[in-house]
């Protein structure tokens, strides 16, 4: 099979993984050196596909032959898809070609499970080793980790890769049993632990070789089974806590060809995915706890964002005086982000904050207005009930998606 044919099959097979980040790698440069590639710590999106997603890395599978039969996966063994397999050298060639063209900032390599978990993992590591050692490649490498692989292989992978990820896919053991019978929550967490231990080992050893400097991440599928947002967010929170994960990705389940009856054949729940990312951002960046966002079981609201939802449930905190409030509380005002918070703090050191300043700082005033006080503004809506406010502030339903799914 021609390289280009393999590429078409193995890129098509890899698109269901949401992650394509090339950020958080240590600074590396090839200036005056043989070899190629750099990383600046900032991710670069070299293109965008018409689904609005960024193309930062060459994201492919080494092979889509797979012994597993995960129901949600287009590459499961019972799926009737064309199959292909790259040699490690072919992946290296493609990575370097795209990299020199400035089409990507590195490689994100994953694979179906062939022969055994160890064999598959060895192949992935081999690609990374070829790139780093034979070709002195200093761009970004993200390797998918096969949970059942020997920890020694995972450790080896961590020395070549900027990032490793172990996909949890479904956050409950019951979900895995039903849809991914070959997978085990225990081995997934064990692999995350191996990576975490590897990171901890070199933490205070400046001379030790780097180990996954861009951290580890995982992905959960949204909408393949009945798991609710509360379970997803609490799982995410515990993963951030237990293994210091850099990112949890949420992937709205996209219907797959020849879909088995066990998974839905419906349009991907993109808005739900969006709300989960917003909530996840509040966990990582704003200091919210999962229980603050969802107290009991259930899903996030779709018509309002999770920050607004929290504010509407905590009216006793608001309105907040922007000239006095703690920065952490200002960041909890709907429509005001971390960046604006910092700018407000800078500004109020120089002078009193006025309502007009918020326009210039490009706050989402429609959302912020009921929750703020400035030197010249007190909200009329302070007395409006949360129910009425929600009615004013909620997103209007989008025009219906065209009837592809009827």
């Amino acid at each position: 099979m021609q390289l280009i044919d393999k590429l078409s099959i193995l890129a098509d097979a890899a698109k269901y993984d949401a992650s394509c980040a090339s950020s958080a790698a240590p600074k590396r440069s090839s200036e005056g050196k043989s070899g190629i590639g750099s990383s600046t710590g900032m991710g670069i999106c070299h293109s965008y596909t018409p689904d609005g997603r960024c193309v930062s890395l060459l994201k492919i599978l080494l092979t889509n032959f797979c012994l597993y039969d995960c129901q949600y996966c287009v590459n499961r063994r019972s799926s009737d898809v064309p199959r292909a397999r790259f040699s490690p050298e072919e992946v290296v060639t493609l990575t370097l070609d795209f990299y020199r063209r400035n089409c990507v900032s590195g490689l994100f390599l994953s694979s179906g499970i062939i022969r055994s978990a160890d064999y598959t993992m060895e192949q992935l590591v081999r690609v990374a080793r070829l790139l780093r050692e034979e070709h002195e490649f200093r761009g970004y490498i993200h390797l998918k980790t096969i949970p059942e692989a020997d920890p020694a292989l995972i450790e080896e992978a961590g020395r070549y890769a900027d990032r490793l990820s172990v996909n949890i896919e479904l956050p409950t053991q019951a979900g895995l049993q039903t849809l991914a019978p070959e997978k085990e929550m225990g081995s997934i967490r064990q692999a995350m632990q191996t990576i975490y231990t590897g990171q901890q080992t070199i933490l205070n050893e400046p001379k030790a070789p780097r180990f996954t400097p861009a951290g580890q991440s995982t992905q959960m599928i949204v909408g393949a089974d009945a798991t609710d947002d509360s379970t997803l967010l609490h799982t995410a929170e515990s993963l951030y806590g237990d293994f210091r994960l850099k990112r949890v990705y949420y992937s709205a389940f996209s219907p797959i060809p020849n879909s088995p009856k066990s998974v839905p054949l419906a349009a991907p729940p993109l808005l739900r995915e969006h709300r989960l990312y917003q909530a996840d951002f509040l966990l990582r960046g704003y200091g919210y706890r999962a229980t603050e966002l969802l107290q009991g079981p259930g899903d996030l609201a779709l018509d309002i964002d999770p920050k607004l939802a929290w504010a509407l449930e905590h009216r006793e905190v608001f309105p907040l005086d922007l000239n006095r409030a703690e920065p952490a509380m200002i960041a909890r005002i709907p429509g005001i982000g971390i960046r604006t918070t910092k700018r407000l703090i800078e500004l109020r050191r120089q002078r009193r904050i006025r309502y007009e300043d918020l326009t210039r700082l490009r706050c989402v005033l429609a959302k912020a207005r009921p929750f703020i006080i400035t030197s010249d503004y007190h909200p009329r809506q302070a007395e409006t009930s949360s129910v009425a406010l929600r009615e004013q502030l909620r997103d209007r339903p989008q025009p219906q998606q065209m009837a592809l799914w009827a």
Partner: protein
């Protein structure tokens, strides 16, 4: 009114601004313009060549902000900077802050400039020049470029602001010892493996080389781009927000975009798979794990 032309060079502007400030010349009294327009306005006030008595104290951070904002191409490019400088040097540091009316325009420009630098890092595409040629031919071709060597990679890019010189340094780290050249409608850079040469006027030979480079192996990237797209998630609006249409014409994948969108829209795509893959023969794998 004093009319100045700094030829869009920051260092020249800086000298002029320093002189103006030393004479305490109010921002209302001065304007920057290109030379041919300068004749339209006549200056009725005359100032000595030497610096005046006022000694301004400028925070170092401001100088950096002004230098970056100076890359912005648009109305009042240099006048705005002088106004900021004037206010800060007279004790009003809010002019540097995004919450201030003037400062917010300064920060908008800074954002545009850094976004445009990022666009260069992201959306520029290098094409490899063919290598198998006689040494004499190579020397002759290099001479056409007024260079000693030929670049190995060339790119054509159309930035909206004057970011090329500073932003292209990024590729020194990225491309190692390789030689490369970036041509734009305005200026150009050439990295000869050791140093970065910036031409304020891009030589036409550079432009021609970058615009007409053949790319016989371009198909791989186009294949990848089409197949990593998930038609079940079609969302062209978000795409255009991140990848403004003005870049499409210089991106090899640009011409594919409309067809990918309309194919996904026609309703043939009920799942994430590309049509071409669905049409091929599949293979179920037998046996248990």
């Amino acid at each position: 009114m004093i009319i100045l032309d700094c030829e869009d060079r920051f260092d020249t502007w800086r000298q002029q601004a320093r002189w103006l400030l030393s004479h305490q010349i109010d921002p209302d009294q001065v304007s920057w313009s290109v030379a041919q327009d300068a004749d339209l306005f006549a200056s009725d006030t005359h100032y000595p060549e030497q610096a005046g008595p006022f000694q301004a104290r400028i925070p170092l951070a401001l100088l950096e902000l002004l230098q970056n904002a100076g890359q912005y191409c648009g109305d009042q490019r240099w006048s705005l900077l002088y106004e900021v400088l004037w206010r800060v040097s007279h004790g009003d540091r809010t002019a540097m802050l995004a919450g201030d009316k003037l400062g917010s325009e300064l920060h908008r420009r800074l954002k545009q400039v850094s976004r445009e630098a990022h666009h260069l890092h992201a959306f520029l595409r290098f094409v490899a020049l063919p290598v198998s040629e006689e040494a004499e031919d190579l020397a002759a071709k290099a001479a056409l470029l007024e260079m000693e060597t030929l670049p190995e990679y060339v790119a054509w890019h159309e930035p909206a602001h004057d970011i090329l010189r500073s932003a292209s340094e990024h590729f020194i780290g990225r491309m190692g010892r390789h030689r490369w050249m970036i041509a734009t409608p305005k200026d150009g850079v050439f990295y000869d493996g050791q140093q970065l040469i910036h031409q304020r006027e891009c030589p036409p030979a550079w432009q021609a080389l970058a615009r007409n480079a053949d790319d016989p192996h371009g198909q791989l990237w186009l294949t990848y781009y089409s197949h990593i797209f998930n038609p079940a998630r079609l969302n062209p609006k978000v795409m255009q927000g991140h990848l403004p249409t003005r870049f499409w014409k210089n991106l090899p994948e640009g011409p594919l975009i409309p067809a990918l969108i309309s194919e996904a829209r026609t309703g043939k795509q009920r799942d994430g798979q590309a049509k071409q893959i669905g049409e091929r023969r599949g293979k179920v794998i037998k046996g248990n794990a």
